[in-house]
Each structure stands twice: as C-alpha cells, then as structure tokens.
Amino acid sequence: MNILDIFTSETPIIELIESILYIVGTIFAGILIALSISAYRNTHLQKLLYAIVAFLLFGIFLFYEFLEHSIPLDNAFTDIVIPSMGVSILVLFFLAIVNKK
C-alpha cells in the first residue's frame, strides 16, 4: 500500500484519525461554549447567546458525527437534521453579527 492509498481508502488509520479529529473538535466546541457563557455572565451582551447556541449545536454536530462513525445511526431523519444544524450555526452567527442589542 502506498501513501496515496492510505488517504484515499477507508483504512483503520484514517478511521482513527477521523475519530480523533471529531473528539478534538467536540472538546474545542465545549471550551468555546464555556468561554461564551463566562463572557455572557461578565458582560450580559445578548449576541453572545447566539454564539453559545451555535457552539452548542456545533458540539452536538461533531459528537454525532463521531457516534455515527462508531455505531450505525444513519436514517432519513438525521439526514435532514445534521445539514440543518450546519445551516442553523451559520444563521446564528449571522444573527449575532447583525443584531444591534
């Protein structure tokens, strides 16, 4: 197996790296949630509430991807929910930017 094969086929190494990246992403999302909550408690800036929900959705999204990777969860419902989470995250950030409060 050459180096290209490792990155183009589903090998245990690739799967392991994928799982690690999902876990690291989930942990970072958790840190960002805690940071946003702390910032909100200090300042009561309302747009931070959008950020808290967005980071929370992002954390759930990554954790779900990790679970899906480990156990089969694929169904029609999640096929709609997961992409809509991505859209919701972008909408929330957009609202945080445009909201005047």
Binding site: L35, S38, A39, N42, L45, A96, V98, K100
Partner: protein
C-alpha cells in the same frame, strides 16, 4: 494561651482577605500554602459569623471583609478583573481626561468595542462622559474613586487567562457587528 493551628489558619485567611480584597479561594490556598479543604472550611466559617462576604464573578467567588466594601467598590473590583475596562480606567487615571480617540489608540481595539465598554462603565457609575467641543472625554465618576486606591487594588487584581479570552471573544463579536450605540 497558645492558639490552635486551626484558629491560626482562620486568622491568616481573614488577614489575607483584609489585605487582598476580592481574592478568590485558589489564590488564598496558593499564597498561604494551605489545602483547598481547609481554605473552604475556614472561609465558610468566617462567612457564617459575618466576618467576610463573598460575591460571584464568572467562575470565581471573590471574598471581602464585611462592612468594608460597598457595592460600588465590589463593582470596581469586578471591572478590574476584566482586561479592556481595566485598561480604560488605567488610562483615565494616567491621562486625566482622555478623548475617545486616545482610548482607541492606546488600547488598539476597534472604536465600537471601546464604545461598548465605555457605555458599560458609565452605566456602572464608574466613569463619566464629558463633551469638549467635538470631542468626547472620559473621567472617573467622582472623587469617591481614589486613583491611589485603584492602584492598590490593581496590584492584586489582574485578569486571568480565562477572563482575557472571554473578553477577547466579546471584542471579536463587537468588532464583527460594528456595534456603535
């Protein structure tokens, strides 16, 4: 009569809180080299008998000697633990009546972000905004905030890494949204 180590620790903690108003438990533990359990126990006992009070700020519980600190001073201490408001107050002490441009230049962050922090300090009754021709100038609200007293507080109160990061998150959002109230 010799004091028991238990009472002596309690007194050390009380003295530390008197000398370092607004200190938090981990700070007491580190400075006095006591166990966290001991610090928690004695601070609880001191609060129970009314010798100290505490107020929560984010993840930290700040401790004060009872009767010494009024709400106004507690607010001041909470502000001093946040990077940008602290630097704004420091600049006002240093320059007297800086303009909005002076503050923006010195702190190196966006004008909307500065505006938001200044508005907050005004709402907290810590500073005043004065019109000087086409400029806006800032000054400490009244003589009750003594600059020497603030300097004393600043020696022991500085933002920790977590507070700095959360402050920067706020600034990022304020800069992105170009909030200018």
């Amino acid at each position: 009569m010799r004091k028991s180590p238990l009472n002596s620790n309690k007194e050390r903690i009380l003295r530390f809180i008197q000398n370092n108003p607004g200190c938090y438990l981990r700070q007491i533990r580190n400075e006095l080299d006591l166990s966290m359990g001991s610090v928690q126990y004695h601070s609880y006992q001191l609060q129970k008998v009314g010798k100290i009070t505490s107020t929560r700020q984010g993840l930290y519980k700040l401790h004060f000697q009872s009767g010494t600190f009024q709400d106004h001073e507690k607010t001041l201490l909470q502000v001093l633990n946040q990077e940008t408001p602290r630097e704004i107050i420091l600049l006002i002490i240093e320059q007297g009546n800086p303009t909005q441009t002076d503050v923006v230049k010195r702190l190196g962050i966006s004008a909307p972000s500065i505006n938001w922090h200044v508005r907050r300090l005004i709402d907290l009754n810590l500073i005043d905004e004065v019109r000087d021709g086409k400029y806006k100038r800032y000054k400490l609200r009244d003589d009750s905030i003594d600059s020497k007293y603030i300097e004393e507080l600043l020696k022991t109160h500085h933002p920790n890494l977590w507070n700095k990061w959360s402050n920067r998150l706020v600034e990022t959002f304020l800069s992105l949204s170009n909030e200018d109230k």
